[in-house]
Each structure stands twice: as structure tokens, then as C-alpha cells.
């Protein structure tokens, strides 16, 4: 009865294992291929712009002269966003993790996550229709009273559509990212350390300074960098809110431009060398955000062993 019973394999079944595992492997490799493909296709389509004679590129000075003011503009907007968002995000995360009544905590977290669910184009529309109008009197005041600072140099924009406004909208968009990551980290602080601080007679703030913040520092850094990556790549908040122009130091005048907004505004109507130029700009943006994200991931994996959460 048994000479063949163990070796008689269910043919279809065994092949099924190979087919299925092959499909899973193929899917994984597809992801790597897609990423490689993104880089490759962008480079290929961008080369005409990178190698074209200087006068063919917009501005007549060659690609580098075209792109570097826009890169600076991108960085300015992102820095404004982070400077505004980071302290508020950390405060909100601390509020939810350590200050709010326990029953409310998850509900409050959900409310902050609502900020993340709103599409970016709606933020752009809000920035253009509401925030810009409301804030332009403040710009007038800044130009009048602090105009000696280059960043507040007048005359202030009357529409309010400046890079500072765009930066504020970006801050609102980046806030939920930094908040939710920081909140996770704060909640993971070992209770042992917190209780040790409290047992020494520390006030709540002192306990946070002693036990929570040092533990959370790498996580906060990583969260900020992820927020930076998002702010660098965000299109709609800038395209709808910023009245673009040449690079200017003043934050309260119209002018400046970011890469993403430049592409969005010009690509639909573009043709020929202009298309290549914009794709090259996209490549520059891709490289910048890639670097920022990789550093952020590296920071958090490096510090996982030292997190003390074990």
C-alpha cells in the first residue's frame, strides 16, 4: 500500500507553491525596479535640458542659473514651515501624551490626524482665499515697524501672497506628521524613568525634561526630517498661495518660487526643451527629498538600539 504513498506528490499543489512564491518575489522586485525606473526615466528625459546650450533654457543663462534660485526658494519655504511647525507640534504631542485627561487622549489624537486628512489643494485654496487676505495687514505692520530687517523689507504685498504665507500653510500641513510621530515616541517613554523622576519630587515639566525629551530626541529629529521632506515636495500649498517671481530676501513681498510649484504651473502647457527643463528640476527635487528621507530613516534605525525601551 505504501511504496509510492509518500512520494506521490500532489502535482498541482507543489507547482502552486512555486508559482505563488514566484509571484510574491516578482512583486517585491517590481518595487525596486519602479524606484530604479523613476530615477532612470527622469534622468533620460532631463538630459536634453542639462546638456543644452545656455541660451535655450528659460532665463537664457543655462540650467544651473535657472534652478538655483528656485532651490533656494524651496529651502526658504521649508525652513519657514519647520520653524513654525516644530515647536507647536512638540507641544501638541506633549499635550496629548502627558497633559490631556486620559479619556480624551485618543480622541484628541484623532482630531490632529484630521489635519492630515485634508487634501493639500484645499489647504492651498484656504491659503489663497482666506489666510493671505487676513494676514496682509500684519505684513504692512511688519514692513512699517521692522522693515530694517532684510526679511521684512517693504513694500509689503497687498494680496498677502508671499512666501511667508505659503510657509505658514506648509507649516499647517507638516504639523500632523511631526505631531503623530512625536506622540508615538513620547508614549513609548519607559514608565520606569518617568516614575523615577516623579519619585524624586520633580514637577511634571521637570519629569518631561529629565525622562521624556532625552529619550525622544532621536525620534523627534527623525520626525522633523520627515516633515522637512514633505515640506520640500509640497506643491499645491505653494502653487495656489505664492505669487511667484525672482528670488528676493523679503518674506513679505511677492516673489520667490519653489521647484514643485514651478513644475506644476508650467508643465501642462510646456513642450520641447521646456519639458526637459522641468523634468530636470523634478530630478533635483527627487534627489534632495531622497537624501533627507534617507537620513531621517538612518537616524531612527541607528538609535533604535539605544532607545532604552527594552
Amino acid at each position: 500500500m505504501t511504496a509510492t504513498s509518500l512520494t506521490s506528490t500532489q502535482g498541482a499543489g507543489r507547482a502552486g507553491d512555486k508559482v505563488f512564491s514566484g509571484a510574491a518575489l516578482a512583486a517585491g522586485c517590481l518595487i525596486l525596479a519602479v524606484l530604479f525606473g523613476v530615477a532612470l526615466f527622469l534622468v533620460v528625459q532631463a538630459i536634453p535640458a542639462l546638456t543644452a546650450p545656455a541660451d535655450k533654457i528659460q532665463g537664457g543663462q543655462g540650467f544651473f542659473a535657472y534652478i538655483w534660485p528656485i532651490v533656494i526658494g524651496t529651502l526658504i519655504a521649508a525652513v519657514i514651515a519647520l520653524v513654525i511647525a516644530t515647536p507647536i507640534a512638540i507641544g501638541v504631542a506633549l499635550f496629548i501624551s502627558h497633559f490631556a485627561p486620559r479619556g480624551l487622549a485618543s480622541g484628541l489624537g484623532y482630531v490632529v490626524d484630521l489635519l492630515a486628512a485634508i487634501p493639500s489643494v484645499v489647504y492651498g485654496a484656504w491659503g489663497a482665499a482666506f489666510l493671505a487676505k487676513e494676514i496682509s495687514p500684519a505684513y504692512g505692520w511688519l514692513a512699517a515697524n521692522m522693515g530694517w530687517l532684510p526679511i521684512f523689507e517693504g513694500p509689503a504685498s497687498t494680496t498677502g501672497k508671499t512666501i511667508l504665507t505659503a510657509g505658514i500653510v506648509l507649516a499647517v500641513m507638516v504639523l500632523p506628521i511631526i505631531t503623530s510621530l512625536s506622540r508615538e515616541i513620547f508614549l513609548q517613554t519607559p514608565k520606569l524613568h518617568e516614575e523615577a523622576a516623579l519619585a524624586l519630587g520633580a514637577t511634571r515639566w521637570e519629569m518631561i525634561k529629565m525622562a521624556v525629551l532625552p529619550f525622544a530626541r532621536p525620534g523627534i529629529i527623525s520626525a522633523v526630517m520627515l516633515g522637512l521632506g514633505r515640506a520640500l515636495g509640497e506643491t499645491m500649498a505653494v502653487a495656489l498661495v505664492l505669487s511667484s517671481g525672482a528670488l528676493t530676501a523679503s518674506l513679505i513681498q511677492s516673489g520667490n518660487q519653489t521647484i514643485a510649484a514651478e513644475i506644476a504651473l508650467n508643465f501642462p502647457e510646456a513642450s520641447g526643451i521646456k519639458v526637459s527643463t522641468l523634468i530636470a528640476a523634478g530630478l533635483v527635487l527627487f534627489i534632495i527629498t531622497l537624501a533627507v528621507n534617507m537620513i531621517a530613516r538612518w537616524v531612527i534605525t541607528r538609535h533604535k538600539e539605544f532607545s532604552g525601551a527594552n
Binding site: T2, A3, L6, T7, S8, T9
Partner: protein, 259 residues
């Protein structure tokens, strides 16, 4: 419907580490054999090689032979999946499939393999398996309810019914009662006594009284120290092992001097 198992010179490796060394043992058909020994002595590891379950862990391999009525489980061209449909296993913690009803859990071995079986045949199989596991009377009115809604002891009997439904030759049990209360344990031990009329049963247990109650023959495994391989020290009739063992180590263990 049950076969004997003959193991010849079996060595079990995890990568380069030798976990169990040189085991030879003959297990009679339609009998209950117990493996006893202190924690970490390799008895569960060895049990898993009897239905090639150790291969689920990457890097695990064996050298030697395990013969099921003369067929080598590790022979060339032998599919582990076929082996496991002939040698079933019940685990330490009851693990009914949470997305399936009681009825579907019992039929899982059949349904998951897409074997076609009519509703009438399925009903007969469910009833037979649940009766064989002494669970029929308790669940016959709620076969469509989820399997995870039963008590621990009932869940374990459900897992036994599930194993029986595949109609194996051998049933391996890896400490089946250690997660259960004493009443459920007793129910399972009674069940094992009935199962041996039809199946060859091998049970790993760290409860020596259970081994004494339940098994015909007992094998004692021991380990010389951490990092050293486990070995089979003595194998014989249960009565002899517990009252008159040959090896001193066996006597020390069953009289409670260590382990």
C-alpha cells in the same frame, strides 16, 4: 489504519548546532508512547522531526532515517506536505482558525486542500471526528459558531478532531495539556486512551504522572548541559521506566531528584 515508526540514528541540526544526537527508537502501531525529560532536552525538537515540521524553521535539518511502516520520510522525492497529511500534530496551545466556524475547523484539512467532498460526506466526517474527539455532544448544536468561542479544553479537543478528520496514521501531541486546567486535562487523557485503538499516538509531556497514566511505553530524553545536544537515555515499558529503570539518570528524573 495506523503504522509503526522506526527511527534510525537520527541527528537534528539547527544550522551547524547539533540539537538532538543519535536517536534510535521503535514505536509500535496503535500504541501510546510518551517522551519525557527536563526542559530543553530536545524532546519537542525530536517530535517535530517525525512529521518534518522542524523544516518550517529555516536552517533546520536532519541526518538519519525515520521509517513509517518501512517508508523513509526523508527519502529522495518525498514531499513534506504528504508526510504531514499522514502524520498529524496537536500543539501546546489550542489554535483553531479564528475565521472559521467549528464545522469548518474540523473540515479544514480537507477544505484547505481543495479536496472535493459532498455536503453529506462532510457532515458524516464532522460528526465522526467530533465524536472521536469526545466533543460532539457539547457542540453539535452550534457547529456554525466560531471555533474561538469555546473554552480552552474544548478548543484543544477541536484541534484533535481537526487532526483526526484528515485520517492520519499517527498523531503527534506536543504537550497538549500544559495550557489546560485539570478537568480538561483529564478529558484529553481519557480521549488519548480511546484514540490508541485507531491511531499511533506519540505525546511529549513534562508531567510524569500524565505519562504514567496514559502511555504504554515511555522514552526518557536528557541533556548533559546547555549547548550540548539532547539524547535518548532510556526507552521501555512505562511500568518499568517508572518503577525499575535501568539507567541511573532515568531513576533520578522520575523520582524527582532533578528536572
Amino acid at each position: 489504519m495506523s503504522k509503526r515508526i522506526d527511527v534510525k540514528d537520527l541527528n537534528v541540526y539547527y544550522g551547524d548546532f547539533l540539537a538532538v544526537e543519535d536517536v534510535s527508537i521503535n514505536i509500535e502501531a496503535k500504541s501510546v508512547t510518551a517522551f519525557i525529560g527536563p526542559s530543553g532536552c530536545g524532546k519537542s525538537t525530536f517530535l517535530r522531526t517525525l512529521n518534518r515540521m522542524h523544516e518550517v524553521i529555516p536552517g533546520a535539518r536532519v541526518e538519519g532515517e525515520v521509517l513509517l511502516d518501512g517508508d523513509n520520510l526523508y527519502g529522495p522525492g518525498v514531499d513534506p506536505v504528504t508526510v504531514r497529511s499522514q502524520i498529524g500534530m496537536v500543539f501546546q496551545r489550542p489554535n483553531p482558525f479564528p475565521t472559521m466556524s467549528i464545522r469548518d475547523n474540523v473540515l479544514a484539512g480537507v477544505k484547505l486542500n481543495n479536496k472535493k467532498i459532498s455536503k453529506g460526506e462532510a457532515d458524516v466526517l464532522v460528526e465522526r471526528s467530533l465524536k472521536g474527539a469526545n466533543l460532539w455532544n457539547e457542540v453539535k448544536d452550534r457547529l456554525e459558531k466560531p471555533g474561538s468561542g469555546l473554552s480552552g479544553g474544548q478548543q484543544q479537543r477541536l484541534c484533535i478532531a481537526r487532526a483526526i478528520a484528515v485520517e492520519p496514521q499517527v498523531i503527534l501531541m506536543d504537550e497538549p495539556c500544559s495550557a489546560l486546567d485539570p478537568i480538561s486535562t483529564l478529558a484529553i487523557e481519557d480521549l488519548i486512551n480511546e484514540l490508541k485503538d485507531q491511531y499511533t499516538v506519540v505525546i511529549v509531556t513534562h508531567n510524569m504522572q500524565q505519562a504514567a497514566r496514559v502511555s504504554d511505553k515511555t522514552a526518557f530524553f536528557n541533556i548533559a548541559g546547555t549547548g550540548k545536544p539532547g539524547k535518548l537515555i532510556e526507552y521501555g515499558d512505562t511500568h518499568t521506566i517508572f518503577s525499575n529503570p535501568v539507567q541511573k539518570a532515568t531513576e533520578d528524573y522520575v523520582s524527582g531528584r532533578f528536572g
